[in-house]
Symmetry: C2
DNA sequence: AAGTGGTCTAGACCACTTC
DNA sequence: AAGTGGTCTAGACCACTTT
């Protein structure tokens, strides 16, 4: 039964004077009962999911944030605790949230261990995390090609920062990355004095406050072009695995496009069908 | 609280005479309360899952079977309906089971739409099911190579059935499959008079009663060998995507190993990271 | 001690399917 | 009408974390 929603819901104290409010309680006020007009037969737990998803997607909740507790959410949204739990269950298995017993439920951080790129292995070891060390081989600020600008969803001829890196496993070059960013997103990143760590996105967040929220990757294969062949030490025309990545920040804004080309003989992707 | 389990549990009628028992009820008797000795701190719903999983893996339940209803299972295993529901929820999202409201819960059939092989597309159409038509180009009964016998987990030098097929999209050859089966599993399959449909596993089940339960696939890329190049109409040495599949029937027994080689320019695999 | 998520129970009512 | 799964509620007790 869809019970009446009390519009008079408030978590704040009723006094007039504005007093400092704890961050947690403040944030709780975001969780309004969902828009019942658009409910249209959807189950309640789905509406709860949608509400949490919305707050993540619009940036009100960002990766690492603690969300209100289940009982709090239940009261705030006028549903039973079991319903909130089911909604959170679903978001947890989607890996959008994770729980920590006794502490609370948090918004997940993007996990690049899910990148297809982890399937570059040395030899044929199974599923183990293989450490790839990267070296920057070129960087600069250039006008982007039409193709790259289109992929970045910026005007053609925009200024871009270009970063090129080679990835090594045990001192053997395995792959090369070609990465482009809109210059206004990461101004100065082309400066040679800025050290680029293996995990580039950490730097971008620290230096520019731009969090990477999600990414899309497409995998294909092709023949190595001359430059790539030289950089990863194979013959020109040898098969290489091509990984194109589009990287997003808050609000579904693209911040990077990247093409990784790797030695096909070091790539192996295993999956189960059932 | 882990309540006492009544050892005297029985679903059958108490009379002595053996009377015909409905299949459903009969099967219900399989679901004994789980082995409490090995419970070791596991949650109850996990034990229920394990029990259902066990019955599927040992072949007591086979793909397409209807399992007992939630209330029946709850009574049979002396847990509350909610606990059974949670266990089934988990198995459903693992896709081991699927539910049909009003009818019941069934054991899933293997879904080869999950095969990596679906990523062979024509042009760049996104995610749409592309129809691949297959033609058998060779078949026979041979002594297997050591490598193939090893992958099939049979003695080296065993008799194998070999099937070779080319896959077409709109009359253009896209991929070629090399498939080996232990001869004793599919005797006579090498006979040219046996028509091989696009979906080979359906034939194997119909003719030999061997159900395919699951499969593993590994994706790599390499250069086209002379034979493959000729069959899919590319230059020798051109990059091809290589898919190795191991196919299992009941009891984790391997029934097929298959290598598919496809045009890399027709392959594209997209995923999201978050 | 208080608050969090984790497990489990016991029921209500609903929508769908079959008989 | 009876049985199925789907949703939702309202609690109990537990294990873990923080204060």
């Amino acid at each position: 039964m869809r019970q009446q929603v009390s519009k008079g819901f408030d978590m704040r104290s009723s006094g007039e004077a504005v007093v400092p409010i704890e961050k947690e309680v403040d944030r709780l006020a975001l969780f309004q009962p969902a828009d019942w007009d658009s409910a249209a037969g959807k189950p309640l737990y789905r509406l709860v999911e949608d509400e949490i998803r919305r707050l993540i997607n619009n940036g009100s909740l960002i990766p690492g944030d603690l969300i209100p507790s289940e009982p709090q959410l239940a009261k705030a949204m006028s549903v039973s605790p079991g319903t909130v739990k089911k909604a959170i269950d679903n978001l947890v298995w989607e890996k959008l949230l994770f729980r920590h017993q006794g502490k609370g439920t948090y918004v997940s951080k993007i996990n690049f261990r899910k990148s297809l790129f982890r399937f570059f292995t040395y030899g044929d070891a199974e599923g183990q995390p293989v450490r790839i060390h990267k070296e920057t081989t070129a960087r600069g600020r250039h006008v982007g090609s039409d193709d790259v600008c289109r992929r970045l969803n910026v005007k053609e001829g925009s200024d871009l920062v270009y970063i090129e890196r080679v990835g090594f496993i045990e001192d053997k070059p395995i792959l090369v990355e070609y990465s482009w960013w809109p210059a206004h997103v990461v101004p100065g990143l082309e400066d040679e004095r800025v050290h680029i760590p293996d995990y580039l996105y950490a730097l971008v967040f620290d230096k520019y406050g731009v969090p990477v929220i999600r990414a899309e990757e497409t995998l294909t294969a092709s023949a190595a072009d001359a430059k790539t062949a030289q950089m990863i030490d194979v013959e020109e025309g040898t098969p290489v695995v091509v990984l194109k990545r589009t990287t997003y920040t808050r609000g579904n804004r693209i911040v990077e496009v990247r093409t990784t080309k790797g030695r096909a003989d070091r790539f192996s992707y295993k999956t189960e069908i059932r």
